[in-house]
């Protein structure tokens, strides 16, 4: 179990490389979105390990709200207002 | 009206699944909350509620899910090979294909299915034209490309949603 969590965190570090390095702003934002999804799976694994069902609520919330930032950025890139 | 009712039932079902109790306090809270949500957002439900009662559509949805899971798994093996191969075996491009699906929700599902299947990602939907970013452009012909990219999905989705 611990080794799986370590591998996932290592993957999140690879994404952080893209966040720091990425040539355009879209690279950074999609990398942040992917970090959020990976943390949602880490939370789900911890819920399995400690048998705590409410940790999965956090996982669902991360999966739902992490792409709002991405959608807002894509609207901005197309030059439209946010309530369009 | 029927839309709001369908929205209420769906919201209630998700509430019951997520709380996973049948205590009367929790059930009443869920009913009230999903009723308020249905009043506000019910008119945006993109489905025609009459179609929800047709059992044949549910049957095809059941067929659709394993086909989708298999294609998705194949897509991932393909991407994994490309990631691990030395050098970059890429030949990307954006191609234009046409779809015969009519309703908005069927097109949305087609776009999402295309995004999750081998080497393709939907960039834009404009009426019945889809622009696809393809990681390995095999052909210049639009008809043939449409056949390769859409695979089995279009027929199944036409049976489910149209």
């Amino acid at each position: 179990m611990t080794i799986l969590l370590v591998i996932l965190v290592l993957g999140a570090f690879f994404c952080l490389y893209r966040v720091l390095r990425g040539p355009s702003i879209s690279d950074r934002v999609i990398a942040v979105d992917i970090v959020a999804v990976i943390f949602s799976s880490i939370t789900a694994l911890m819920a399995l390990q400690y048998k705590l069902a409410y940790l999965l609520d956090i996982s669902i919330a991360l999966a739902v709200i992490s792409f709002v930032a991405t959608l807002a950025l894509s609207k901005y890139l197309q030059g439209r207002s946010l309530d369009d | 009206m029927a839309r709001k009712l369908a929205y209420w039932i769906a919201g209630m079902a998700i509430w019951l699944l997520m709380t996973w109790t049948v205590e009367y306090q929790s059930v009443i809270a869920g009913a009230v909350l999903s009723f308020i949500a249905a009043l506000i957002f019910g008119k945006y439900l993109p489905l025609d509620p009459g179609k929800l009662l047709n059992p044949r559509r549910w049957f095809w949805l059941l067929i659709f899910m394993p086909v989708f899971a298999y294609q998705c798994f194949k897509a991932n093996l393909d991407v994994a090979l490309r990631v691990l191969a030395p050098g970059l075996r890429l030949n990307p491009g954006i191609v234009r294909i046409k779809t015969s699906l009519k309703s908005e929700i069927a097109r949305t599902f087609l776009a999402n299915s295309i995004t999750l299947t081998p080497g393709t990602m939907t960039v834009e939907i404009k009426d019945d034209v889809l622009y696809i970013h393809w990681i390995d452009v095999k052909t210049d012909d639009s008809e043939l490309a449409a056949k390769i990219i859409k695979g089995p999905f279009e027929k199944l989705l036409a049976r489910i949603f149209d």
Binding site: L4, I7, L8, G11, A12, C15, R18, S24, S26, I30, A31, D33, I34, V37, I38, S40, S41, A44, L45, A47, L48, K51, L56, D57, I60, A63, V64, S66, F67, L71, L73, Y76, L77, Q78 | L17, M18, W20, C72, A75, N76, V79, A80, R82, V83, L88, L90, N91, P92, G93, I94, V95, R96, A111, N112, T120, V123, E124, Y131, H133, I135
Partner: protein, 117 residues
């Protein structure tokens, strides 16, 4: 039997997540990176959640994992679709070995492809 199947799903999911992150680092331009990352991370996370469902059965934990699969399946495809469209219209260029660009052609602009070095 079902337990070991659940562990197979979880380990496969972790491996696919890792491959998605590697693709995010290795691929040459934004659109290819999105392809790799979107597909692998979606399937990896869904695999982990489905494994949790198999391991814990019809309890609060398992059912919540199934609901979570539903949301993850919507999240990344929609995000990558919106972001790739926005980036193309904004003018972020594609890799120099890209072969064709019908989208910019139909909008009446030059293909959004990098000059060869």
């Amino acid at each position: 039997m079902i337990d070991s199947l659940g562990w197979v799903f979880i380990i496969g999911g972790v491996v696919f997540n890792m491959l998605g992150c590697l693709g995010l680092v290795r691929f040459p331009d934004l659109y290819n990176r999105m392809q790799a990352a979107t597909k692998s991370v979606t399937l990896g996370t869904c695999g982990i959640l489905f494994g949790i469902f198999l391991l814990s059965g019809f309890s609060a934990l398992g059912i919540k994992a199934l609901v979570c699969i539903l949301f993850v399946l919507i999240n990344l495809p929609v995000a990558s679709h919106a972001l790739s469209r926005g980036s193309l219209i904004f003018g972020i260029k594609m890799w120099h070995k890209t072969v064709k660009d019908d989208f910019s052609k139909d909008r009446g602009e030059k293909p959004a492809i990098e000059e060869d070095e």
